[in-house]
């Protein structure tokens, strides 16, 4: 018997951790993982609201968010591999020239 605000606060904390990770981390892959963390936090609040309003469309939307996250993960990882091949580094600070 957990109140809704607890789930929302947890979702907010996950989202904030994701944003923090996105801002302070320098490794491209870790930045990407923070994006996934943000998406997960949002998923949690979707499911919590679906439970509150007894509307299953919240859960269906979580499904779509997951699909989009999967597609974005695939393309993003391909981009990371391409960047690594040309710049030889995974540090975001070093990828600071528009040409090699």
């Amino acid at each position: 018997m957990v109140p809704l605000s607890c789930y929302l606060v947890l979702s907010g904390i996950l989202f904030v951790c994701g944003v923090l990770g996105f801002l302070i981390k320098r490794n491209i892959i870790t930045i990407f993982m923070s994006i996934e963390l943000m998406l997960n936090g949002v998923n949690l609040s979707f499911v919590a609201f679906a439970a509150q309003w007894h509307a299953l469309s919240g859960q269906v939307f979580v499904f779509f968010v997951m699909v989009v996250a999967a597609a974005e993960a695939a393309v993003g990882l391909a981009i990371i591999i391409a960047v690594y091949r040309t710049r030889e580094t995974l540090n975001v600070d070093r990828v600071n020239l528009l040409k090699l």
Binding site: V2, C17, V47, A48, Q52, F64, M66, V68, A70, I80
Partner: protein, 160 residues
Amino acid sequence: MAGAVNLLAQSHPINSALSLVVVMASLAAEYLLLGAEFVAAVQVIVYAGAIMVLFLITIMLLNAGAEERTNGSRIAIRIGVPGVATGGVLIAWTLLHRADRQAFAIGALKGDPSDIARLLFHDFLLPFEVTSVLILIAIMGAVVLANRPEGVARGPRKDG
């Protein structure tokens, strides 16, 4: 939550990835508590079981090492952490402030697969088809991006 904080605290991306897996697994448990069993199963299969494995494979393939401190990261930490922390506190305060509304008990909303399927294929059919096209485009994009510049990727050197 501990997993999320750990993701920030770890310097080696592999440890961050593993703590993210922990986060996702515990989120799946939360979904089960909220009665969304199908979503929990899909979360484990898709997110924790496939996407994170992709992350792990990429980290291993690129041999990512521990992070290093550069100028950019110091600036980001000095400005970013307080800013985001303020934003987070604002969000939390707003949410908790309105908790004096009747804090209802979350029973289980049965997320039966057949009900979700009914919604998915009747009301949300268009988004469903559009996401399938999206995945197709993402696959094509990933294959094109990851190709070696001198042409189609060669097969493995070993034979037999």
